[in-house]
């Protein structure tokens, strides 16, 4: 039987350029992508294997390992080139293991309308009191859908200290009827335990 004739790749022609320096050469051999850094490049529609790896490391981490995990996530979040999908992923993960430590970095996202919803992926489930302060501060900054989502988060967290700010929104003639009504419902919820 005739054999299939697949062209044999000429690997020598590729001429891989191993560094001449001993240490650099050793590093060249052993280097592999760091999933914690790679998730910053995550794209919608792209390979999410690195994200899966990070997720599994997080859920398997023991409680006393969380600070290290959180630190690594914050390093990724601080990558100036982080993608939209990468930021969303990191914020979700911080929602699982984040503490007071992640609050300043995530709060910056909260104050920016395009990333406010993503910040709440972390903050909404974070049992940290300072989150409520940042939510109240953001209430005066955000508009439109991010503001509406924020109002829902405040009500869910039961932050009664937000009632005064919500009361202002509830009667703000410049605000949409939907958000005014939402603010009213949030106030009712915060003033009552029999909700929603």
């Amino acid at each position: 039987m005739p054999q299939a004739t697949e062209p044999v790749p000429n690997l020598q022609a590729a001429k891989p350029k191993a560094p001449a320096d001993y240490k650099d050469r050793e590093a060249w051999f052993t280097a592999s992508p760091d999933p914690w850094k790679e998730v910053a490049r995550l794209q919608f529609g792209g390979d999410r294997t690195f994200a899966t790896t990070v997720h599994r490391m997080i859920v398997h981490a023991e409680r006393d390992q969380w600070p290290v995990v959180e630190k690594r996530l914050l390093q990724t979040l601080g990558d100036p080139e982080i993608s939209e999908a990468g930021r969303q992923f990191v914020c979700r993960m911080l929602g699982l293991v984040g503490t007071e430590v992640c609050v300043p970095a995530v709060a910056k996202l909260l104050m920016n309308e395009p990333t406010a919803d993503v910040a709440r992926l972390t903050f909404d489930v974070l049992p940290v009191a300072s989150v409520d302060e940042h939510y109240r501060a953001a209430l005066g900054r955000l508009k439109g859908a991010p503001r509406a989502g924020l109002i829902g988060s405040i009500a869910r967290r039961g932050d009664a200290r937000a009632v005064d700010a919500l009361a202002v929104i509830a009667v703000d003639a410049n605000e949409t009827a939907a958000i005014r009504a939402l603010a009213e419902r949030a106030i009712k919820k915060l003033n009552s335990t029999s909700t929603p």
């Binding site: 529609g45 999410r48 859920v59 398997h60 929602g95 919803d117 909404d124 489930v125 869910r156 939402l182």
Partner: protein
């Protein structure tokens, strides 16, 4: 543990019912089958006007069923996909021979629409709680497809809303309206198998493994993708992520764990008498796709332990059968029930099941839709009341959480929180993208 009897729902506003029914009465005069003592001299029409939110796959079955009810009228349909909502309205109008079916894109418009008595929530799971609660706030009774909600927290919020506003909420776990499942659960509850030792549930395999594309694509004409996403985190449109397939993406649903688990775990909960409770411990070891579009478990395997010591194991079947089954093991052997058959370790067990000689009689229903409509009329709890649906869905979600964590979790069914497990506790809820919230 729950009572075997269906309690009456006393929270409901009779005045509100009369008012809404009077509107229906003015629209279409049909003979009432209700005793006049229920509603006094101004007996309303018996017709129930229904609106449907979400007109895809599962809604088609509901439409066809409801068109067969002479005292039910599908008055409005709502979908974020214009092609789907228009096709649904055409189907309904063709059947009724008119053009009366209202069509809308935004569920809030349907929820607020006067003259609608009941709303069927047939959206992706991601939307169940929000749409149902909006309907409840607007005084509508609601039939919510299973699984009841995407998260445990949303399920409790839905129960609270239903009770607060005195609305009837039926969960779409229609196996409770099947005699086969009913009689088996009743048999178990009456000790027919002796002491119950364990329950084994098989559910169909996830038919969407890896390979699905989540590459961004242009949104097709007629689809409001932002509204489709709703409270889920933003993701660009991809056709495979949308209709039907949503159930295999964790942002929108929870895979076969809730898709089929909601049916069969529901029967186990019924047989265990755990309709207002749940397991105290769940251990899960599933498998999830590592890349691509789909994110729900391709291999489901989790085991629940109840306070009485009973164990319930739910896992994926790989024999290609598109049905589940639940097998109860007790001192007398086993009995197995699915949609197609009942089998047992000894023939006399099956005979005893159908004989129904036990003293405890579970509430029964011969038709899930009719049970819902009758519950609306009598203001009594339906066979798959929202609390029951919530508790069953909670078991499914506990299984999913345990599998995602790849370990054992302890659960307090009274407090509905995990025991000494802050990570798992954060998975009871989700953040909602603005403008959506549970407020």
């Amino acid at each position: 543990m729950s009572s075997a009897l269906t309690p009456s729902l006393e929270l409901l506003s009779r005045r509100g019912f009369l008012k809404r029914s009077a509107i229906a009465s003015a629209a279409v005069a049909l003979p009432s089958i209700l005793p006049s003592r229920l509603f006094g001299q101004n007996a309303p029409s018996n017709q129930i006007n229904v609106g449907i939110i979400g007109t895809g796959n599962i809604a088609q079955g509901h439409m066809e069923t409801m068109l067969g009810f002479s005292d039910v009228r599908i008055a409005a349909v709502c979908d974020v996909d214009r092609f789907r909502r228009e096709a649904a309205a055409d189907k309904i109008n063709t059947y009724y021979g008119n053009k009366d079916c209202a069509i809308m894109r935004d569920f809030r418009e349907l929820a607020a629409r006067p003259g609608i008595d009941a709303i069927f929530v047939c959206t992706p799971d991601n939307w169940h709680a929000l749409t149902a609660i909006e309907a409840i706030r607007n005084g509508k009774d609601v039939y919510v497809e299973k699984p009841l909600t995407l998260t445990i927290e949303e399920g409790r919020a839905l129960v609270t809303a239903a009770r607060k506003h005195g609305r009837i909420v039926q969960t779409g776990t229609q196996q409770r309206s099947s005699k086969r499942f009913h009689d088996t659960a009743e048999f178990i509850r009456n000790g027919g198998m002796g002491k119950l030792e364990r329950i084994e549930i098989l559910i169909p395999a996830n038919n969407k493994y890896t390979g699905g594309s989540w590459q961004p694509e242009p949104v097709p004409e007629g689809l409001d993708w932002d509204m489709w996403l709703g409270p889920a985190p933003f993701s660009p449109f991809n056709r495979q992520a949308c209709h039907y397939n949503f159930r295999f993406i964790l942002d929108y649903a929870a895979g076969q764990t809730t898709n089929w688990g909601a049916h069969y775990i529901d029967i186990a909960q019924w047989a265990l008498g755990a309709d207002d409770s749940g397991p105290v411990e769940v251990e899960g070891h599933g498998e999830f796709p590592t890349t691509g579009l789909f994110t729900t478990a391709t291999k489901v395997d989790f085991t629940c332990r109840y306070a009485g010591g009973e164990q319930l194991r739910c896992r994926t079947r790989y024999d290609g059968i598109s049905d589940g089954n639940v097998r109860f093991f007790g001192e007398r052997g086993w009995i197995d029930v699915s949609r197609s058959a009942s089998t047992a370790s000894a023939p006399e067990i099956l005979r005893e099941v159908t004989a129904r000689k036990g003293a405890l009689k579970l509430a029964s229903s011969a038709n899930h839709h009719d049970n819902f409509f009758q519950s609306m009329r009598t203001r009594s709890l339906p066979i798959s009341d929202v609390e029951i649906g919530h508790r069953t869905t909670t078991v499914c979600n506990l299984g999913n959480i345990a599998m995602l964590l790849d370990r054992k979790v302890r659960w307090d069914p009274k407090k509905e929180s995990f025991v000494d497990d802050p990570l798992a506790d954060r998975m009871r809820a989700r953040s909602m993208r603005g403008p959506w919230s549970m407020v």
